[in-house]
Amino acid sequence: MTRQRKGLVFALAASALAFTTSNALAYKVFVSNEKENTISVIDSETLQVVHTIKTGNRPRGIILANEGKWVIVCASDDHKMQVFDTKTFEYVKDLPSGPDPELPILHTSGNPLYVSNEDDNLVTVVDVFKGTIITDVPVGVEPEGMGMSPDGKVLVNTSETTNMAHFIDAHTYKNIDNVLVDNRPRVAEFSSDGKQVWVSAEIGGTVTVIDAETRKVIGKVNFEIQGITKDAIQPVGVRITKDGKKAFVALGPANRVAVVDTATLKVEKYLLVGQRVWNLGFTPDEKLLFTTNGTSNDVSVIDVESLKVTKSIKVGRYPWGVVVAP
């Protein structure tokens, strides 16, 4: 082998290495656009929209399933869910739901799926592989938020007009307990140790922290932003870091994401993002957090370590939900 050829091989190997490295870091961010009937797919490395998937009517809640091979989105106005392939972006199949499905969550084992039907006061339990409904669980008026305990035993559903977090046994579907929270609860999120459930209240303007074991309210996060009236602070999306130290709360028309110290329940910082920020999604390595900004039709990218908003990415009309696939 000549010296020249050796050099070429080395260069090829190096470039191949570089290629795989960047591939490994790049996640796919799936953003449902409620008014455009699409999912925008963003490359987490280049922060560009790389693909747009056409969906059914009014795509909202969006999750991963089948070990990350599927992305499932609620097509709320079609009263069903749709499954797409996370690699090819091809349509896979429909899944049944009740009327007006809003937020799905997957059992920790990967099946079944639980979905809140906003128009029916029911949570529907669906087998994602068989595509069948297992049962319906009656809950309060306008069921919305869905949280799953890390041990897979307890499902928490919030109902927007009943103002409760319903604790449901994930296997027997029996209602275990109901915890009153502030007005119009939206998102329920378990801490990764399973000890707490955080429930945002959009109209109440607070996040209620519930002890998952005793189901007692153990604290409340309040928000105050200079120059923004209390009425405009409307918490929706909640995400807690895996180490349990920080919680991020999207504040709706206040156009900010609050960074909350989970030990003190005090807000450390408010990050200015796009307009009417609703839902949040971490990359699997938790380096980036993506926010859906409904009114400004964009997604803000938050660098989790430096707590800085680094970019905004134009997506479709009224981005609603976000999930990041490895």
């Binding site: 079609d78 009263h79 069903k80 199949k93 429909d94 899944l95 049944p96 739901s97 009740g98 009327p99 007006d100 906003e118 128009d119 029916d120 006061n121 029911l122 595509g131 069948t132 409904i133 009656p138 309060g140 008026v141 306008e142 109902s159 927007e160 007009t161 009943t162 103002n163 409760m164 319903h166 209602n175 109901n178 009153l180 007005n183 119009r184 109209i203 109440g204 303007g205 009236t229 209390k230 009425d231 405009a232 409307q234 028309p253």
Partner: protein
């Protein structure tokens, strides 16, 4: 209404789509059934076109008779279930002329259907908290009879009265109940003095005042910079009161009323054949020779002529006020802030679209439900005090919490600005600032209030 109380049958399911199910399938608990049963006699006579039902028919709905009517007793038999009854008092106004458009004829259950939905919503929450809500209704064309019947019901233990009644009747009601642990919700009357000089501590208002409605419109006109108004006022006292609210708004937000004209035309019989030929001539003639203006403001609360103005004015100008672009608490086309599900629930229950009166009544009944949820009691003293406290807040599909003004019991709320078909905007408009809440830029604010009844 068919209410199944047994185990729910499994419907056939398609993988692709499931049909909508009837409203009550998701509410397999009983209080909703109780409501349906309590309401049905009313629907019967209301449809017969005999609105002045005598209160003598009412005892069938009395609290004593209620448990027998509840088909399944898991709630009724359980003594730990808190029972809360709400009374809707309707004053039948026979003197009201039918509106110009067939589309605007009020349904017989206007308002009542809103109460039914709120009772059902309260009960969905109530079943988790062992609270059960039920609705009674009294109605009469005679204010004296109505007041006497309400007083009787309150003496029997009802503490919450939702009224669709005139200002005079509301005042008579308030005075008749003044020493009782009871509260009246005014769901329909926009009268300003009722909230000001004449205010009563036992009346709360879920209906907006005329000044709130006028300010909501006026703010949007300021945003549009449509500042020059030609005001057309109808002959009734209500029209004059609305015009007064419009003048106050114009002054407050820097608009100019370039001229006022009184519209005295007597429309005569609405049912006479044709008639558009004359109107087509008459309205432009009436509007001729006006000074330069941006919009025509029509003050016609009785809906006797206002809808004749759009597209018939002398100059090509938009019409606002009680016709054309109008201010309202609710609109059947609104899907903002989760309104879609709310509208759907209503339509399934009532078989028609939700009207502003339904919404105002819903807010009143939900206020009691919200207070009972938070306080976990049925004690009227406690609940009424809570509804007066700053802790009370109501979520009502308006994108923010609604609260009652501490100085006169008026519910603060965003106001929709709409055409007959769709909403155009929601006030308060951006830029109208307030030191406490922007909602207080609508209507009479605390520093200007003449209400003293709420001062301790």
């Amino acid at each position: 209404m068919n209410v199944s109380t047994g185990p729910r049958p499994r419907p056939a399911r398609s993988v692709f789509c499931r049909p909508h199910r009837p409203f009550l399938r998701g509410l397999p608990f009983l209080a909703a059934a109780a409501v349906a049963l309590l309401i049905s006699p009313l629907a019967g006579y209301a449809q017969e076109g005999a609105p002045a039902a005598s209160p003598a028919e009412a005892p069938a709905q009395s609290p004593a008779a209620a448990p027998a009517e509840v088909p399944k007793a898991d709630a009724a038999a359980d003594p730990s279930v808190l029972k809360i009854r709400i009374l809707m008092a309707r004053e039948i106004r026979e003197d009201r002329l039918p509106p110009l458009s067939l589309l605007d004829i009020p349904p017989p259950d206007d308002g009542v259907a809103g109460a039914k939905l709120a009772i059902a919503d309260n009960n969905t929450t109530g079943r988790f908290l062992k609270q059960e809500f039920a609705l009674d209704i009294v109605q009469s064309a005679s204010p004296d009879e109505l007041v006497a019947e309400v007083k009787k019901r309150v003496d029997e233990g009802i503490a919450y009265v939702v009224a669709d009644a005139s200002a005079e009747t509301l005042l008579a009601l308030a005075d008749a109940l003044k020493d009782k642990d009871a509260v009246i919700f005014n769901a329909s009357e926009p009268d300003e003095p009722l909230r000001e000089e004449q205010c009563r501590i036992n009346i709360k208002h879920t209906a907006p005042s005329r000044s709130m409605l006028a300010d909501a419109l006026g703010q949007y006109m300021a945003w549009k910079q449509w500042r020059k108004w030609l005001l057309v006022v109808g002959p009734t006292p209500e029209d004059k009161a609305y015009a007064e609210a419009i003048r106050r708004t114009a002054k407050r937000f820097g608009h100019k009323i370039v001229e006022e004209r009184e519209f005295k035309y007597d429309p005569g019989s609405r049912r006479s054949d044709g008639g558009f030929e004359q109107i087509q001539q008459q309205i432009p003639g009436f509007m001729q020779g006006a000074p330069e203006h941006d919009v025509v403001v029509v003050a016609d609360e009785g809906e006797l002529f206002g809808d004749y103005f759009p597209y018939r004015t002398w100059q090509a100008r938009p019409v606002i006020g009680t016709a054309g672009l109008f201010a309202t608490t609710w609109h059947p086309a609104v899907e903002l802030w989760g309104g879609t599900q709310f509208q759907n629930r209503f339509k399934r229950l009532a078989g028609r679209q939700m009207r502003p009166l339904d919404y105002n009544v819903w807010m009143a009944v939900r206020s009691v439900g919200e207070a009972a949820t938070r306080r976990k009691t049925a004690d009227p003293k406690d609940l009424i005090a809570y509804m007066r406290s700053p802790e009370f807040e109501l979520a009502a599909f308006k994108g923010q919490k609604l609260t009652y003004r501490a100085w006169n019991g008026q519910l603060r709320q965003p106001i929709l600005i709409a055409t007959a078909k769709i909403h155009v905007t929601v006030s308060p408009q951006p830029g109208f600032l307030h030191q406490f809440t922007e909602l207080d830029t609508l209507g009479v604010d605390q520093p200007e209030t003449k209400c003293t009844a709420f001062k301790k």
